[in-house]
Each structure stands twice: as structure tokens, then as C-alpha cells.
């Protein structure tokens, strides 16, 4: 047996004949024309179908990455200036007089008026409203 024969690159005449017999005995049976056409049709349909794994996943990943980046940028950015009422000038606030007994003027209590609360009280409590408030 030569080196080529030992390596399987070249067969001895005896091996070549043996392999030939195996090849003939194990040849794929011929497929009918109808079966070949069905195979071809199905294969072409499958190849025509757009790939969902090849394109869909990268597109989804890209969209998610963009959404995440937008979220991070929005959180990191300083708040946009808004058209709000100008705040009270500091000098004017300081100039406001606070009574010496610590009672704030009524105009500072807008929205927390006692009367609004009294209007919502049940009748029983409204009857003794005057007693509780000492009026």
C-alpha cells in the first residue's frame, strides 16, 4: 500500500472497485419529476419569504437603543425655561411688613379662609361654629 493509498487520497484498484460497488449500491433513488418540482417550488417560496431573524432583530435592537438614548438625554438635559409669572422682586418681599404679633394679614390667607370650611361643615357643627371661633 502506497502513502497516497494509506492517506485515502488514491485508492488501490481493489479498494477502488470496492468503493465503486458501495457507491452503486447506495445511490440515492431517482426522484420523480413531480417530487423535484414540489421541492423546487417550496424552496423558492421559502427563499422569497423575508427573513425575520436576519433583519427584524437588528431593527428591533436599534429601535430600543434609540429609545433608551432619547430617555437618557431627556433626563440629563436642564429643564427648559417656561413662561411663568415673574417672581416677586426680592426687595418688595423684604419690604412687606409682618405684624409684630405674628398674625399674617388676611390677604396672605387667600384660599384657606375659615368661611369656606364653615360652609362645608354639617349643620350640627355649623350651629356651634360661632362658639368654637369665639365670634
Amino acid at each position: 500500500m502506497t502513502k497516497e493509498e494509506r492517506d485515502g487520497e488514491r485508492l488501490s484498484p481493489r479498494d477502488a472497485q470496492f468503493v465503486q460497488r458501495v457507491a452503486e449500491g447506495f445511490a440515492p433513488p431517482p426522484r420523480s419529476e413531480a417530487r423535484q418540482q414540489a421541492f423546487r417550488r417550496i424552496l423558492e417560496e421559502r427563499l422569497r419569504r423575508p427573513s425575520t431573524t436576519g433583519v427584524g432583530l437588528p431593527a428591533l435592537a436599534g429601535a430600543l437603543a434609540m429609545a433608551l438614548a432619547a430617555f437618557v438625554l431627556l433626563r440629563a438635559a436642564p429643564p427648559a425655561p417656561t413662561q411663568s409669572e415673574p417672581s416677586e422682586p426680592l426687595e418688595r418681599v423684604e419690604a412687606m411688613e409682618i405684624p409684630s404679633d405674628g398674625v399674617l394679614p388676611e390677604e396672605l390667607l387667600v384660599g384657606v379662609g375659615v368661611r369656606d370650611d364653615a360652609e362645608t361643615l354639617p349643620d350640627d357643627y355649623a350651629a356651634i361654629d360661632g362658639v368654637l371661633l369665639g365670634s
Partner: protein, 189 residues
């Protein structure tokens, strides 16, 4: 092929046209051969061979943008096909181990061929008893006509390993299929 060829282009505009054309021509010229190779590697299961060949072509089509032409398209595709065969054999092995009944093979009665069914089954069983590497090397080189280095590339093995598989496969098959060995015939006379 030009009539068959146009179906890939609209979907795959980002793949270079020449590569797509090459693949389309390859599919047309290798369909039957791919089924035949899968048939031999799967021990003569015709239905499974068609499924595996289909899957290999679809996978190759999806992988086409990554194919840089460093290997021949034939080597590249057959490597995918052999991987699909391996995957199918693993699946079949797992099902057999779990006693799950295998799907019935639908045989085309017109496609039985003229060969001897008993001999075909014996060869199939003998191939099945080889190691995976021996079986793949023997089928690729001796039954399908690939060169040893091509077969090695398809199998993802070194050429020396493929040669070793080839030699051992031949020795094992000659023992199992003694009656096909012309030397044995001469000795027995």
C-alpha cells in the same frame, strides 16, 4: 437560470448582485446533489434528506451577506448542509432515546430505483456504525467525489484528520461488507 433567478433580488437589495446571482445559479445546479448527499449522510432517509437540504439552502440564503467569497461557494454551502445533517441526526438520536416514534417516511414508490433494497439497507447500517467523522469523510470523498482537502474544510477538520477518518472508514467498511470486496471474492474462489 435567468427565469428562476429574479426572485431573490427585490428582498436582498443590500447584497451585491453578483453574489446573489451566483447563489441562485448554485441553488439551481446543486439542488439534486444536495438532496443526494443528505440522503447518503442520513442513511437513506429520503424524506429527511429533502427537509435537511431545504433547510440548508434557506440558512445559506440568510447567511449570504456574510459570505465573503474566501472559500468556494460549494465548500461554504456544503459545510452548512453537513451541519444540518448533524443537527438532524442529533434530533433523531434524542427522539430514539426517549422512545418517541419517528415520523413515517413517505416513500415515493416510483423513486425506489433499480438497486437492491437489501444491499442498500446493509450499506446504510454499515455507514451508521462508523464514527461521524469516518462516515462524513467516506461519503464526501468516495461517494460524492470531493477532494480530501475540500472534505476536510466541509467537515471543519484538518486535512490530516480527514485522511485518517477516510482510511479507517474504508478498513471498517471492507470488514462489514466483505462480500463487496473483490479481494475476498477472489480468495473465496
Amino acid at each position: 437560470m435567468s427565469q428562476e433567478a429574479s426572485w431573490l433580488l427585490p428582498e436582498e437589495g443590500w447584497v451585491r448582485e453578483s453574489r446573489v446571482r451566483e447563489f441562485e445559479a448554485f441553488v439551481a445546479s446543486h439542488r439534486e446533489r444536495a438532496v443526494g448527499l443528505a440522503y447518503r449522510l442520513l442513511g437513506g432517509d429520503g424524506g429527511a434528506a429533502e427537509d435537511v437540504a431545504q433547510e440548508a439552502f434557506v440558512r445559506a440564503h440568510r447567511a449570504l451577506p456574510g459570505f465573503r467569497g474566501e472559500a468556494k461557494m460549494s465548500t461554504w454551502f456544503h459545510r452548512i448542509l453537513v451541519n444540518e445533517v448533524r443537527r438532524h441526526r442529533r434530533w433523531r438520536w434524542v427522539r430514539a432515546r426517549r422512545d418517541v416514534p419517528m415520523p413515517e417516511e413517505v416513500e415515493d414508490p416510483k423513486a425506489r430505483g433499480d438497486g437492491d433494497p437489501t444491499l442498500r439497507r446493509r450499506i446504510s447500517e454499515a455507514l451508521d456504525q462508523l464514527s461521524r467523522g469516518q462516515r462524513e469523510a467516506f461519503v464526501l470523498v468516495h461517494l460524492e467525489g470531493f477532494r480530501v482537502d475540500e472534505a476536510a474544510a466541509i467537515m471543519g477538520r484538518a486535512t490530516g484528520t480527514a485522511k485518517s477518518h477516510l482510511h479507517r472508514a474504508l478498513v471498517a467498511l471492507r470488514t462489514k461488507l466483505r462480500d463487496l470486496d473483490p479481494g475476498e471474492e477472489a480468495d473465496s474462489r
